[in-house]
């Protein structure tokens, strides 16, 4: 009996001693006190030092995009640090290119806040928030594209520009053993700021698309963060060329809805590429826009129409259809959303027709 007591006493005593040492160390050696972080030269925040920069910023509601959640395995959370904080860590170097090193780009999940810092992050990140949402509607747009409507719960409103995207958090499930984030454009209009609509195309074995198509149901909770991106309508008088394919519809639909709501009557043509008629969707919606916007036309083009269909619209590759329409690139600007291959081909056609590259805006997804 006494032997057991001695064992408990000894191990308890040793562990407590070590715990006390650790607590003392934590409060002396590892205590960096209050430090200030100056963001983009104007905003200054006071934070408790000693934690990774990514986490510190997150606690201040500043979200840097990160897919791995701070484990140094995605390389996304890059931040420019103007203060000298010492050499690169071996956990950073796999992700930071040499020319980025010259500019002091650091991986914010790996560096710790131990002193006053001056950092530079894209201005838009300051507006990025994390939202708790509920799926209130899911419907099939085509055989492989679903429209998902999310009701924002906390915070209740999102402030974004038509065309921007959010990141959707996929929890652990069969295809992933850690939460991952995937970017999706918002298809809804900024005026409808308590809901977010996404258009998600099914990709076999795609981590997020499989999750959305096969596991997500109405009533489920989903976490998103955003808004991100510089794909939005520029305020000019130029004629607009929209080009999209598949779920690339989403940001363009958002932009056109915004134009209809704000009565922006610029000349606009929307070329939408699909293979067959069953890949087309939201045609009624586009008809509505054609009524509201006097000089807007929706031009769907099928590359591979079924033989027995009575398709009367354009046929051929989207690049051919666009090329045929464009006479010259004068006073035009273009907004593209689709696969990298489609974007590349379209940018070529547009520049050949005289639209300068700085007036071609695109959102690319792999």
């Amino acid at each position: 009996m006494s032997h057991i007591l001695i064992a408990i006493f000894v191990s308890g005593g040793l562990f407590s001693l070590l715990a006390i040492i650790m607590v003392i160390a934590d409060n002396t050696i590892a205590d960096y006190g209050e430090v200030s972080i100056i963001i983009n030269g104007d905003e200054e925040i006071e934070v408790e030092g000693g934690k990774p920069l990514l986490k510190t910023l997150m606690e201040e509601d500043i979200f840097i995009p990160s897919a791995c959640g701070g484990r140094g395995s995605c390389g996304l959370c890059k931040v420019k640090v103007n203060t000298d904080i010492g050499g690169y860590l071996p956990t950073e170097t796999p992700w930071i290119e040499e020319d980025e090193q010259k500019e002091n780009i650091r991986l914010s999940c790996q560096i710790k806040v131990k002193q006053d810092l001056e950092i530079k992050i894209p201005e838009e990140y300051l507006n990025v928030k994390e939202f708790e949402t509920e799926v209130i509607n899911m419907r099939d747009l085509t055989h492989d594209i679903k429209e998902v409507t999310l009701q924002l719960i906390e915070p209740e409103e999102i402030d974004f520009r038509a065309g921007q995207f959010i990141q959707l958090r996929v929890p652990e499930y069969r295809l992933t053993d850690e939460p991952v984030y995937r970017a999706y454009s918002m298809a809804s209009s900024p005026s409808n700021n308590n809901k977010v609509e996404l258009e998600i195309r099914y990709v076999p074995e795609g981590i997020c698309t499989t999750y959305v198509h096969q596991h997500l149901n109405e009533g489920d909770r989903v976490v998103i963060n955003g808004p991100y991106g510089d794909f939005y309508l520029r305020d000019t008088e130029r004629e607009i060329i929209f080009i999209a394919g598949g779920s690339g519809m989403a940001p363009i639909k958002s932009i056109i809805t915004y134009m209809a709501e704000n009565n922006i009557q610029r000349k606009a043509r929307y070329f939408f590429g699909a293979r067959t008629e069953k890949d087309l969707f939201l045609r009624d919606k586009m008809k509505e826009f054609e009524k509201k916007l006097t000089d807007f036309k929706f031009v769907p083009a099928l590359s591979d129409p079924e033989e027995d269909s009575n398709w009367e619209g354009k046929t051929g590759l989207i690049t051919e259809v666009v090329n045929e329409y464009l006479e010259n690139g004068e006073n035009k600007e273009a907004y593209l959303c689709g696969s990298p291959g489609m974007i590349k081909a379209c940018v070529e056609i547009l520049t050949e027709n005289g639209i300068p590259e700085n007036l071609i805006f695109y959102d690319e997804f792999g």
């Binding site: 191990s11 040793l14 070590l18 160390a25 050696i29 590892a30 010492g86 050499g87 860590l89 071996p90």
Partner: protein, 196 residues
């Protein structure tokens, strides 16, 4: 005499009884961090440092607390907690004191808290009934042996980046085969000295 036996233990721990290549301990970080020579130098130094000091601390705790109180069966749990606390403490200190040291060495410390070769050294040391000096020699030697093995591995793997490896063997597969061949090479030393 004492000095000679300590030296023999030190030497044997590096070559003939290399903890990694003869006991296959500390494999996980060995496989994970041996892609580049730079990083494996950092990890190797960290392991050497921690092994030497934890074997000393654990020896003291074992012989002055556990043996007199007849509690040697608690050694597994006590050793591992001491190692964990020591590693944490060292990490905090390094992080505070030197950015350069932290970047090259400190970053690996959390990795070796759960490195089985560290616990292995402490356990072998009591099983083989080493004196205090011999234990330190054994810890230091094992650390250097581990360091040597991981650097050799990293050197081979850096070269291997440019060679063609069958699909099924890429990554850990080929690394294990190489570790096996390296272990056989080290067996060649075993006639020189042996630890018992």
């Amino acid at each position: 005499m004492n000095f000679i036996s300590a030296f023999a233990i030190f030497f044997a721990a590096i070559f003939t009884n290399n903890i990694l290549l003869t006991n296959y301990l500390g494999m996980c970080s060995f496989l994970a961090v041996s892609r580049k020579v730079d990083t494996s130098v950092g990890l190797g130094l960290a392991v050497t440092f921690v092994m030497t000091f934890t074997s000393a601390i654990n020896w003291i705790v074992y012989h002055f607390i556990l043996v007199p109180l007849d509690l040697v069966y608690l050694r597994y749990i006590i050793f591992i907690v001491i190692i964990a606390a020591f590693v944490q403490l060292v990490e905090m200190i390094i992080e505070r004191v030197s950015d350069i040291l932290y970047a090259s060495l400190g970053i690996f410390l959390p990795l070796i808290t759960v490195n089985c070769s560290i616990l292995g050294v402490s356990l072998f040391m009591v099983i083989r009934d080493y004196t205090f000096v011999n234990s330190i020699a054994y810890g230091l030697g094992s650390g250097i042996g581990w360091f040597l093995a991981i650097i050799a591995m990293a050197g081979i793997r850096e070269k291997m980046d440019r060679s063609k490896i069958p699909n099924g063997l890429e990554g850990a597969g080929i690394a294990l085969i190489i570790a096996g061949i390296m272990a056989m090479a080290f067996v060649g030393f075993s006639g020189i000295l042996s630890l018992s």
